[in-house]
């Protein structure tokens, strides 16, 4: 047995370790290779694995041996006159194989969602460098990104994430209909959990780069301030106490919303309505409003997802807490979720950038109709 396995093992080049850099850091954005790609590469089993220092003895790949057995059996059956797979039996099996296909509806839709999320991931990764690039306003190379473009990316990403999240919810609702098998139900729930987890991970990409951008703007603002706000003290105390009292859940909402409203110009208030009053009086560019709103809408868009992002944002924002311009915090009991994203939409943000957002939006279309 082992003897025969070896004949095939050494026939192919022992390329397992050399050709692909398995132990190196994975290229960003690449998922694991699909299983089909690795069939027939018996050398694959040889090399080491996850933990860099553990080199495990190989298990023996006898797939080729199996295929050889198949040939042997076929020949033998032919010689004995037994029908092998083709003919009447074959067509019946074909039929059998076709009938479960409709059930594959769930998996094909699941895979669609995954591929959409994958597109989002690729898009984010593709533009990540430019997005984060701090000196884009200085450099005048072709590859820089304007803030408007960034905002567009943000907005699109948020919409997209929300759409995906809704799609997952929908799938969940429908997954258990028409299915009577407990095992299949369990399987489908688990699959949906995996997809949701995938979405979370990709959203983390987004929130990380977003947080960096926000921090940069905040720091810039802070540096450009010349004098501290009045009533800073009391408001600051209430503010920071709120931060510490709600370290886990609310922080994603409150510090964010508390951070920015102070900068919202008085003229923007009627549109904001639900934001309350008592702002500071410095101007806020439309960008910053969008940013502030963007973050809360991001939080709102994630109603299906856990607050992993808050972990990323809180340290950034608590660092920013110490700036003197944190005033203007009032009680904000309700969560202003749905109103905001639709509130401020100036023409500037609508401008599409050429970066490929168009193509991205085109991809969005099928998703939207899919939902």
């Amino acid at each position: 047995m082992a003897a025969e396995a070896g004949t095939f093992l050494l026939a192919s080049p022992l390329a397992g370790g050399g050709v692909r850099n398995r132990n190196g850091p994975p290229a960003a954005g690449l998922g694991p290779r699909s299983p089909a790609a690795d069939v027939g590469r018996p050398g694959a089993g040889r090399r080491g694995c996850g933990s860099p220092r553990v080199r495990v003895a190989m298990a023996v790949d006898i797939t080729l041996l199996f295929r050889a057995s198949v040939k042997t059996v076929k020949t033998r059956n032919k010689a004995l006159g037994v029908a092998v797979g083709g003919g009447v039996d074959g067509s019946r099996d074909e039929l059998f194989r076709r009938s479960p296909r409709p059930k594959g509806d769930f998996s094909s839709r699941a895979r669609e969602v995954i591929s959409h999320i994958g597109k989002l991931r690729d898009f984010l990764l593709e533009h990540r460098k430019d997005y984060i690039n701090a000196y884009s306003h200085i450099m005048s190379e072709y590859g820089k990104m304007t803030d408007t473009e960034r905002d567009q990316i943000d907005q699109d990403a948020q919409t997209f994430m929300r759409t995906c999240s809704e799609a997952i919810q929908q799938l969940r609702a429908q997954a258990h209909k028409e299915i009577h098998s407990q095992q299949v139900k369990e399987h489908r729930s688990a699959v949906l959990d995996f997809i949701e987890d995938y979405l979370k991970r990709v959203c983390k990409l987004y929130s990380e780069q977003r947080a960096i951008r926000v921090k940069r703007v905040v720091d810039k603002k802070r540096l450009s301030k010349l004098e501290p706000e009045p009533n800073t003290k009391t408001k600051e105390s209430m503010f920071s106490e709120k931060v510490s009292q709600n370290p886990s859940k609310d922080s994603e909402e409150k510090p964010i919303t508390e951070e920015y409203p102070e900068k919202i110009p008085a003229e923007a208030q009627p549109e904001l309505g639900s934001w309350g009053d008592g702002r500071g009086e410095d101007e806020l560019s439309p960008e910053e409003i969008q940013m502030g709103l963007g973050i809360s809408s991001m939080a709102s868009g994630s109603h299906g997802l856990e607050g992993n992002w808050s972990q990323n944002l809180v340290p950034v924002l608590t660092a920013a807490n110490r700036s003197p311009c944190e005033a203007a915090v009032t009680q904000r009991p309700e969560r202003k979720r749905s109103a905001l994203p639709h509130a401020l939409k100036s023409g500037a943000q609508r401008k599409l950038c050429s970066r490929g957002t168009l193509q991205f939006l085109n991809h969005l279309e099928p998703v939207v109709s899919f939902v």
Partner: protein, 636 residues
């Protein structure tokens, strides 16, 4: 020593290796690389009971989930078709399993099949599967077929057992019963050798084998040597090529395999235990690192004669992640009780700290003057909050061990196991006995009949001269009165007669147990562990026979006990019958295997031996095979 560093860097424990191998298998036989933005890939896992036993000590359900497994099912269960999902099989290549797999193929249960056999499958069985695949037009769906060579169960970083499902097959009784036929013996030996072979394939090293002559261990050694040799000779297909060798890369790093037969020392398996892990195994229901407790609720208050209320069953996994367990599994029991108490106190202190900070936060809402303190407290609270998971885990472990230790303590008190332990230690070390054996046996309060029988057997085994007929009759009567079955005694008599002919009886060195009086700390703090009346015995242990043999062989010491041991080196061109070791250097890695079953006492003794002698110079791995500890039952 130059060799040490390299060994330390290259050697991974057998548990790590087996876990990595499993994960690779679950990843469609491709090495597993973590990727934070990777697409989810899902699959179902199908295993038989053997596969289940191998996987369960190593991977938790959560870890299976992390690898993308949506469902894990037993092979021989009702399974519904789940379309569009790949299935990973991990089974033994037995007739029934192959039949069932063929059935699955015919029923088109899954989209693709990744077949993994725990030990190598024969050509003819492979053809059976090929046949079924052809008939079902499913050949293309069989994506991969692998021989995993994982036919052993790793329970600790440095301890493995052969199997759980058919342990009776390879137990002491199976090997030593008088009516065994040659073919049966062959089967048993083949099973053992197959597992050992898988073990060395996974370890990635070819050992040097030493065994005693004229025993079942020798049979195993001969077969294993032959199997390794055949595999190495076949250069094209050897499983031990340069790529895959782990610690064995450098030839002077080859491990030593010591094969001993259970018969060299029958007293230790019968011995009552005193260290935590050994006690849990001896006294509670403990298998594959899982302990099952039955907790009765409110029994104390029920009137005499009333049925106790429903018993809650609880089970706990004692894993390498459990820090308390790792630290204390080899400690004497009183120390364990004290440590649980300490952990509980430190936990309470931390909990109070968090509560205090919380209340500070609440109070200072209106007080502006305390702003300066805020940032300091915020930092503290943040760190307290972030350590919450740690704290919760600590609490979980404390609860777990409180329950387990309490259960153990109940047994100790009920059966007076401390008395047995102390007495047996004295017998085995030939110190003078302060109580008469007959007294203990006749005492109705002390121990179950099984305990008494164990005690007596140890006495009988260790005695230099057999007790006189009259004495023996007296003992027998006392034992029968206590409810014991005398069959084991019969067996031991014969064994002893035979053992006398073969070699000198094993000596246990000079062990003393010091009774340190009652633990004042445990008593005073009103702990749960009221160890009143339980002796606080501390072991000053010397090496057990198995440890001694290992010591001799590893250090190349000359000793009449081991000089006659056979020497096998599968890598040598020609095998020989000599006992002269070619390799003159002391070994750095050793595997100890007891044919007939080891036990936790010996395991602990070996672990202690390593710690004692080789604190800073070597990295050791020692493996001992354990089958049923209840050798007593096997003797019956």
């Amino acid at each position: 020593m130059v060799g040490v560093k390299m060994a330390a860097a290259a050697a991974a424990s057998i548990r790590e290796r087996q876990t990595v191998a499993l994960k690779r298998m679950l990843n469609f036989n491709v090495p597993h690389v973590k990727n934070s933005t990777g697409e989810p890939v899902w699959k179902v896992l199908i295993y038989d009971r053997f596969g289940q036993d191998i996987i369960s000590p190593l991977l938790s359900v959560k870890e299976l989930r992390d690898m993308g497994i949506t469902l894990h099912l037993l092979l021989h269960s009702d399974r519904d078709p789940i379309p569009d999902v790949p299935a990973v099989y991990f089974v033994m290549p037995s007739e029934e399993n192959i039949d069932r797999m063929c059935q699955d193929l015919r029923n088109q249960l899954y989209e693709s099949y990744y077949l993994n056999f725990i030990s190598a499958i024969s050509r003819s069985k492979l053809e059976d599967i090929a046949n079924a695949a052809l008939a079902a037009s499913a050949v293309a769906q069989v994506a991969k077929v692998f021989d995993q060579y994982l036919n052993f169960i790793t329970l600790e970083d440095d301890m493995f057992v052969l199997c759980n499902q058919n342990k009776e097959l390879v137990s002491y009784r199976a090997i030593n019963r008088p009516d065994i036929t040659d073919t049966e013996m062959e089967t048993v030996m083949d099973t053992i050798v197959d597992s050992l072979f898988c073990f060395f394939v996974t370890l990635g090293a070819v050992p040097i084998i030493r065994c005693s002559r004229g025993t079942a261990a020798e049979m195993v050694a001969v077969k294993l040597d032959k199997k390794l040799r055949e595999n190495l000779r076949d250069a094209r297909n050897s499983l031990f090529t340069g790529d895959t060798l782990g610690a064995g890369q450098f030839s002077f790093q080859r491990p030593l395999l010591v094969l001993v037969d259970r018969n060299i020392d029958l007293a230790t398996p019968l011995h009552h235990t005193w260290t935590y892990q050994a006690l849990v195994h001896d006294v509670l229901d403990f298998h594959l690192n899982r302990v099952n407790l039955e907790e009765s609720s409110g029994v104390e208050n029920s009137p005499a004669g009333a049925r106790p209320k429903r018993k809650n069953k609880k089970s706990y996994d004692l894993t390498p992640v459990d820090k308390f367990w790792q630290k204390h599994k080899g400690s004497p029991f009183p120390e364990v009780a004290e440590s649980v108490q300490q952990e509980l106190e430190s936990y309470r202190a931390q909990e109070d700290e968090v509560k205090r900070l919380k209340s500070i936060m609440g109070l200072e809402g209106e007080d502006e003057g305390a702003i300066s303190m805020l940032s300091d407290n915020t930092a503290k609270l943040t760190s307290a909050v972030s350590s919450l998971p740690e704290l919760l885990e600590k609490k979980r472990l404390i609860d777990l061990h409180t329950n387990v230790a309490t259960a153990v303590l109940e047994h100790i008190k009920a059966r007076k196991l401390d008395v047995y332990f102390e007495y047996e230690e004295k017998i085995m070390s030939k110190t003078t006995l302060d109580k008469s054996l007959l007294d203990i046996i006749s005492d109705p309060d002390a121990g179950t009949p099984e305990d008494k029988m164990r005690l007596f057997l140890i006495y009988y085994i260790s005695a230099q001269q057999a007790p006189s007929e009259a004495d023996l009759e007296q003992y027998k009567k006392a034992l029968t009165d206590a409810g014991c079955n005398l069959n084991p005694l019969q067996y031991i008599k014969q064994w002893k007669a035979f053992a006398k002919m073969a070699s000198a009886p094993a000596s246990y060195g000079n062990t003393t147990t010091k009774s340190m009086g009652l633990l004042s700390r445990v008593m005073n703090t009103g702990s749960q562990f009221v160890m009143e009346g339980v002796k606080n015995l501390v072991l000053k242990q010397q090496n057990l026979p198995v440890t001694r043999i290992l010591d001799n062989l590893m250090e190349m010491k000359s000793n009449p006990e081991t000089d006659d041991y056979r020497y096998f080196d599968p890598k040598m061109l020609r095998g020989n019958d000599s006992s002269v070791p070619r390799n003159k250097n002391p070994f750095q890695e050793a595997i100890v295997f007891v044919v007939g079953g080891g036990n936790y006492i010996e395991y602990q003794n070996l672990v202690d031996y390593i710690k004692k002698s080789y604190e800073f110079t070597f990295k050791f791995t020692i493996h001992i095979r354990i089958s049923a500890l209840r050798t007593y039952q096997i003797l019956q």
